[in-house]
Amino acid sequence: MKFLSLLLSGFRRKKTRTILTLLSILVAFVLFGYLAAVKQAFDMGVSVAGADRLLTRHRISLIRPLPESYEPRIERIKGVSNAVHSTWFGGVYQKPTNFFPQIAVPPEDFMDVYPEYLLDDEEKTAWLETRTGAIAGRALADRYGWKIGDRIPLEATIWQKKDGGQTWEFDLVGIYEGAEKGTDTGQFFFRYDYLDEARMMGAGQVGWYTLRIDDPENAARVAAEIDEEFANSPYETKTEPEGAFLQGFANQMGNISIMLKAILSAVFFTILLVTGNTMAQAVRERTQEIAVLKALGFTHTGVLFLVLFEAMLIVCTGGFAGLALAWFLTTYGDPTKGALPVFFIPLADLAVGVLIVLLMGLAAGILPAIQAQRLRIADALRR
């Protein structure tokens, strides 16, 4: 602590340089925090996917339908405790940019298979009793200012109505909350029977099945048995863990994780060079001062730690401020105004950020510190 004023005095030497270095580190870590939140949004389904849930889809592509009649056959397979089908609606709310997932499901089975979507009993009952009833996640409802009782019109892009109409109207009967912070509350679910009875084509067809299994240990066997059950049929299936399915879905945009890591690696490498160069320059400028400190009695090791702590101090100040700022900014929500299902920095990523700050401080300071440690007093004073 008593050396703090000596450490801080180094920052005052070239104020502009110190501020610019601090800002570059700060911006890098704000970017880190933001990208971690974006990655979380893409990984969200994967990270909260139930280990005891499998997903069955058409073997060729997710967009090819499966028969509704598969459900009892899937539920008969040993190890499957419940199955629910889902069908993508793909409608437009007010304008095409207002994107959010809209999925037709049978409510009772759906609530059973997805316990992480929390709906109170009154809302559950209302959904079961209202054929045009729909539920929205809290984030989605907040995004559009919806409240229970609102009528939500969606313009169909896939499912035309039997009467030739494109507009489907839903009554909002419930707003679900997420059981975990990462639970997606940006979706819209409505009753499958409403869709199936009113659509012009595709009756009796569903998008995919989600099934709960008794024991996650049996996932591979159950998946293989389901796919075997429907082998050589016009609707062959591919069954996989829900996490793998969602990861594959996210990867349709490219491997987000690798892209983000590549961006961050480039940013941090540049910052490391900038900070390392700043520290090396600072030590070169202070050759005589370091020699004087040693002449006064500071040991070589003491000087090594002084320079190292100075580098750590500058990187930690900028880095921690950057992480804090990123944390603060993400609490204001998704910058895309709702296109991302969740937007927050997971604690694990924050811990990784702290670790990177410390390692970067160490990496930026170690060479200049060794340079200062090796400085010979008499030689340096003679310069």
């Binding site: 004023s5 040693k294 006064l296 009695g297 070589h300 007093i377 008499a378 004073l381």
Partner: protein
């Protein structure tokens, strides 16, 4: 050690610098004794080895051969770590160009050697105030070096050198960068430290006027003692 009064005992000291394959003999077979409480001036032409000798006495450099005892401790064989601790306790250094930390105020500069002690913050402040009082700069303690005159900066340098109450004060051309008036003030201060506070002072100088303040002057030439003058 021959006598209790001898503070600095140097025997057969050689110092050789190597520049590539070339060997430069800066000091050769030097013998020297400096009693405690003496004010000694070292004079000689450039390259005669004055500053090298001062560095060796201060433990800033090591001899190539020979032995160096200060206050009964053989410093030429000490480890770097031990030598640093010894310097902090026993040596005060005054430089020609003051060598103050430009980003620290006068009082923080003076406090620097005390950071290596176990003194509390208030005790350190007390020592700093005393040292600044001795050099007559109490009123300028919050000033940064660039706002002080050359003479004032050298006084801060002297305050930093005496703040740990060292046995030995080593001054490398302390008036070399000062005008005549400031130079006289610094020499008066050094004399006062020697007479009133009992400090043993070794001062390297080119200035014969400065050397007159010393009780003894040694002349070096080509790394050897060539003459001695006692005031």
């Amino acid at each position: 050690m021959e006598s209790q009064q001898v503070l600095v005992y140097i025997k057969a000291v050689d110092k050789i610098f190597r520049r590539g394959s070339e060997e430069i003999h800066v000091l050769g077979g030097l013998d020297l004794e400096i009693p405690e409480g003496e004010f000694l001036a070292l004079m000689g032409p450039s390259g005669s080895g004055k500053s090298t000798l001062l560095n060796i006495i201060g433990g800033l450099d090591r001899p190539s051969e020979g032995r160096v005892d200060i206050g009964g401790e053989r410093i030429d064989q000490m480890s770097e770590r031990r030598l640093a601790g010894w310097r902090a306790r026993h040596v005060g250094l005054v430089f020609q160009f003051y060598n103050l930390m430009p980003t620290l105020s006068a009082e923080r500069n003076v406090e620097l050697p005390l950071l290596l002690t176990h003194l509390s913050r208030s005790e350190r402040r007390k020592h700093v105030d005393i040292a600044l009082d001795v050099v007559g700069l109490s009123h300028r303690k919050a000033y940064f070096p660039k706002t002080l005159s050359g003479g004032e900066q050298q006084r801060v340098g002297i305050a930093r050198a005496i703040v740990t109450d060292p046995t030995l004060l080593l001054c490398d051309e302390p008036t070399g960068d000062l005008d005549a008036k400031s130079s006289d003030e610094i020499l008066d201060l050094l004399q006062a430290l020697n007479r009133e506070h009992g400090k043993t002072i070794i001062m390297v100088t080119h200035d014969s006027h400065a050397a007159k303040c010393a009780s003894r002057t040694l002349f070096l030439n080509k790394g050897r003692l060539s003459a001695e003058q006692v005031a």
